[in-house]
């Protein structure tokens, strides 16, 4: 939180171990660029295979099971076996589908996820066969905007896949999923703003460089929390995996997909998970910089070591996803939208304003302590007020709800079929006569 963070890093001549700036890019020979591009694909494919294995084993451990342990040592080859089996299955394209769009959709879901990885920095400048090169394929002055644009393109895979399938479950799953993704993308974009405020740039390499002294996850903790929630919603993982709510939508938008096309959607999901995790590491967790005690060691941030720190942070973020999946139940759709629009977005906007105001006050010469004191008072008032508000309103609402359900129960008790929308949510009529095999006419009615 010092002004030194503000100053744009000076244009440095290329030297091993130094944080690369925008000027350091584009000096590679063509073979190095090609090698980096291919490596990104290989890295992501390997990460996907590893994540599938890791997810199953790690979650099995949490649930006192063993997980896959038959194929290869520790079951390590299981995802490869699965990955080979899936494309070799027969690919069924149902008759009613819109063929070109049906085929285009999985490709559209996969491609942007891969592309976004172009701007993730894996490490500082290193020496490869005598060439000094940053461990990052490309850097753009608007790199983070590029990632957001790519993730907004990923929505097309979902909405088109759902539409082209000509199946009601697919269509509804696709719409639901895309509405969720776009809702959470706003929160995600807003959580970046505070980072840009501090870094003064949208370029990932400069954002990493500006975290030399302290990570943004510490300084901008609320932003980090908002990002951590939105990234889970953005990639449709538990607890926000409603598009695949099996109980209600079968498979969601990929119900009608099989074989390789289905595999593409799965691939996109895991690549997306890797991408948002890598972005979390880059923007909030110091990128490839060594964590605090290690960073005191001389040379911890030089050479190839940072790749190790980056990988450790990436894997910890991915473990967070898996931990969530093993721990949390799925939220309801209305809860999801409520969280997105009533908590995350207003919260993110308010937090941006707070950060910006503090910034201005500091520039005007008011000391940090005074600012923090004032902010603490305001926050305290807000928390107390919202608590009181909730307590008063919550009690009233609870009473109303109880009355309403009691009234509905009284009303529904005498009807034969039961209210399919009891309490506002569709439930099957559990007391319908045909469930007990008593009334044969109702069966016929049902079948008609």
């Amino acid at each position: 939180m010092t002004t030194s963070l503000l100053a744009a890093p000076p244009a440095t001549p290329l030297a091993a171990g130094e944080a690369p700036t925008l000027e350091a890019f584009g000096l590679d020979p063509w073979w190095l660029i090609l090698a980096k591009a291919v490596l990104i694909f290989v890295f992501l494919m390997l990460m996907v295979l590893f994540e599938i294995w890791f997810e199953r084993r790690f979650m099995a451990r949490m649930q006192n099971r063993l997980g896959p342990n038959r194929v290869g040592p520790l079951g390590l080859l299981q995802p490869i076996a699965d990955g080979l089996k899936l494309p070799l299955k027969e690919d069924l394209v149902p008759r009613g589908v819109d063929r070109p769009v049906f085929i285009l959709a999985p490709a559209l879901a996969t491609m942007p996820a891969f592309l976004a990885f172009a701007i993730i920095p894996f490490g500082p400048t290193v020496s490869v066969f005598g060439h000094q090169t940053p461990l990052q394929l490309a850097d753009l002055p608007v790199a983070v905007l590029f990632v957001l644009a790519m993730s907004s393109l990923g929505v097309y895979g979902i909405v088109l896949g759902g539409w082209a399938s000509a199946s009601p479950y697919s269509l509804l799953g696709g719409l639901r999923s895309s509405a969720q993704v776009i809702s959470y993308e706003i929160g995600m974009g807003l959580s970046f703003v505070a980072v840009f405020l501090f870094a003064g740039s949208l370029s990932t390499s400069e954002i990493v460089a500006s975290q030399e002294r302290i990570w943004y996850a510490v300084v901008l903790f609320p932003s980090f929390v908002i990002y951590a929630i939105t990234m889970v919603g953005e990639v449709n993982r538990i607890p926000f995996d409603l598009p695949e709510g099996e109980g209600e939508l079968v498979g969601g938008f990929h119900t009608e997909y099989s074989s390789l096309k289905f595999g593409m959607f799965m691939l996109a999901e895991y690549v997306n998970m890797t991408t948002v995790s890598a972005l979390a590491v880059t923007l909030f967790l110091g990128g490839w910089r060594a964590p605090w005690p290690i960073s005191l060691v001389d040379g911890a941030n030089a050479g190839w070591w940072p790749v190790l720190w980056f990988m450790i942070k990436l894997l910890l973020t991915i473990s967070f996803f898996i931990w969530l999946r093993a721990t949390l139940p799925r939220v309801r759709y209305d809860q999801l939208m409520k969280l997105g629009w009533k908590v995350l977005i207003p919260g993110a906007l308010a937090w941006i304003m707070v950060v910006a105001t503090i910034r201005v006050l500091r520039n005007e010469g008011i000391s940090t302590q005074q600012v923090f004191f004032a902010v603490a008072i305001v926050l305290g008032i807000y928390i107390v007020a919202s608590y009181l508000w909730d307590a008063v309103r919550g009690n009233r609402r609870d009473a109303e709800e109880q009355e309403a359900t009691a009234a509905e129960r009284a009303g529904a008790g005498d009807s034969t079929g039961g209210d399919p929308m009891a309490g506002g949510y569709p439930v099957p009529p559990l007391d319908a006569p045909h469930y007990h095999g008593r009334n044969s006419t109702s069966k016929e009615v049902n079948r008609a």
Binding site: V101, V142, L145, S152, P426, N446
Partner: protein, 187 residues
């Protein structure tokens, strides 16, 4: 001609071609997809003119948000797969004439306005987010504030138009919108 010129001409052709396909295709959702191609090619043109911030905003807003909005709008109706007969009308010649006249007018204006103007492209790029911020918050503050009013008006308009559907349960008794598939025997 420099390579940039060739790419620019190519992108122009793609933009024009896909725009024509938007209005001539008989499949409703495909028209929206051709619109994506049009916007994408426009974004690539911006990129070529070193306006990278605007280019990615074009992708984010127009491709990522506006066309998704259009698709959601189409899917409110049947969003049919296959050809729709109602997509053509007898006004085709009139429409072509109006479109050609508009294009001619725009081309004339642009040519008359920028005949001799020449912008040197290349490094450093002229359209990074810092430069955009500088020009918005130093020069164009008023349009920026007016834009917020425009967005507000549009938002309120959309809410008012759709309001009949959105009521807490219990208030709407005439017809409850169903998200469940129509017809028996499903599920």
């Amino acid at each position: 001609m420099t390579p940039a010129d060739v790419v620019f001409l190519f992108l122009g052709a793609v933009t024009l071609g896909s725009a024509v396909l938007v209005v001539t295709t008989r499949q409703l959702v495909h028209a929206a997809l051709w619109l994506v191609v049009t916007f994408g090619a426009l974004a690539a043109s911006y990129l070529l003119l070193t306006a990278e911030f605007v280019a990615w905003v074009q992708v984010l807003i127009y491709v990522g948000a506006v066309v998704v909005l259009l698709l959601f709008g189409i899917m409110l109706t049947r969003a049919p797969i296959g050809r729709s007969e109602g997509l053509d009308s007898a006004n085709r010649p009139v429409a072509i004439a109006v479109a050609a006249a508009t294009a001619a007018l725009l081309v004339t204006v642009v040519v008359a306005g920028f005949r001799e103007a020449y912008v040197e492209l290349g490094d450093p790029p002229a359209g990074t987010s810092g430069q955009m911020g500088a020009s918005i918050f130093r020069t164009w503050v008023l349009p920026f504030e007016v834009l917020s009013l425009l967005l507000l008006a549009a938002l309120i308009g959309a809410i008012v138009l759709s309001r009949r559907e959105i009521q807490p349960p219990g208030e709407s008794s005439d017809e409850r919108p169903t998200e469940r598939p129509t017809g028996p025997g499903r599920g």
